[in-house]
Symmetry: C2
Subunit: 239 residues, 2 copies
Amino acid sequence: MAASAEQLVGSLADRISEKILAGEYPPGSRLRQEALAEEFSVSRTPIREALRQLEAKGVVQHRPNQGAIVLAPNARDIRDAYQVRAELEGLAISLAAEWITDEQIERMRRAQRKFAGAVDKLIAARKTNAKAPFRNVPSWVESNDEFHGVVIEASGNRRLKQMIQDLHLGFTRNIMLAALTMDGRRMRENVSQHEAILSAIGRHDAAEARKAMTHHILRSGELAVWWLESQGRLVGPAR
Amino acid sequence: MAASAEQLVGSLADRISEKILAGEYPPGSRLRQEALAEEFSVSRTPIREALRQLEAKGVVQHRPNQGAIVLAPNARDIRDAYQVRAELEGLAISLAAEWITDEQIERMRRAQRKFAGAVDKLIAARKTNAKAPFRNVPSWVESNDEFHGVVIEASGNRRLKQMIQDLHLGFTRNIMLAALTMDGRRMRENVSQHEAILSAIGRHDAAEARKAMTHHILRSGELAVWWLESQGRLVGPAR
DNA sequence: ATCGTACATTTTGGATACAATCAAGCCAAG
DNA sequence: CTTGGCTTGATTGTATCCAAAATGTACGAT
């Protein structure tokens, strides 16, 4: 997560979004300022400022005299977000293809190996024990973030980096995670998509790398939408 | 500008960014809370919240015990922003090509006529009176925004719309404006680029429209960077 | 029993008050 | 003349206070 070297308010915003991501404050729920203030042992003032930041980032919605509620994206929001993300990461890798260093490619290879390993373990764990298949999720997420992180880094475009991260911040990440970890075949599909990306970037083939990347993300988006719809709509604020 | 049906804080944020765009608070200047509070006849509390929003949107930077300063983008920031904007508006028009209605195309045509007219007047006015060439700038900006606005609208992707607008909010808009209104040839070049976009979208040719749009914006970006560098660096915060 | 209304409680919004931190200017020493 | 530290003033950061709005509840009417 973007841990900007800030002061209280910034870190409060980060901690609140962490809790939202973790599901502690589910979509649609109200974030009462006094409760948050007590939870973090501060007064309401910095809480309010943190909530304003989250509002600007699109994590929560602010209703006039009702305070902040956690946004509950519908299928359309997810589709929109993934369309944009596919485009942005496509640009990122297309830029990266020209400037990426051998050391960065090596980091991507390492991340990819870890990623494949995590998927294997996830699938194996689910077969033997359907009850606790989530032990290897952190490793899965970490290696995936590393893989995409190198690409964004290598693009050399800081604004692009920030926008992709903000986009990732919403609920899209959680939904993708939930959608993917449900199905072994899809997880392996994901691994092979990374493989294709890695191969293209290794040849510094910008056009091919972009094609592979946008396909990868659009496909993930389809899965996320499909998963969201199959879940029955989450309770959320009126739009 | 996006006048979200908000309450005080939102409108304060809008008004402050307007003033920043208008050059009243130049890049690098500190925004003192008490002064803003007096100016808008409110207390510091809502001012602080508005500043937090602007911080999250990347309009100002917040230094620990120093408050907010207006961001002064350097050439690289501008280049980065235009690269992203070209990509996003390229996606927008590529989506729009499929779904745009005849009525929307007609609005683009009207905007284009107004745009061409404004450019003519701007150039003529500068020839006869070099002192006041800026009378027709509002019409120029308005028609340009309308032209691009229809495309974004027709894309049918709300997230995309919001991101493009946020991107536009930074200083990129002012810089583009300053760069373009300096040179008649470049303004006419701009008109013909719009012409090309309009032609492609009229045929619902997504690929061609995207090509024309990204070219248009990347070219504007080049001009902005060139202008910024020719101006000598604006004073700004350390990075 | 259900709907509507009035009232009480809760919660947000904005203003004010106080504490903490930083910057600028000043004076003295080298 | 420059450099170092210190003091003072200004500005931000946090907490508290009061008013306005909204929600929830109880009661009464249909």
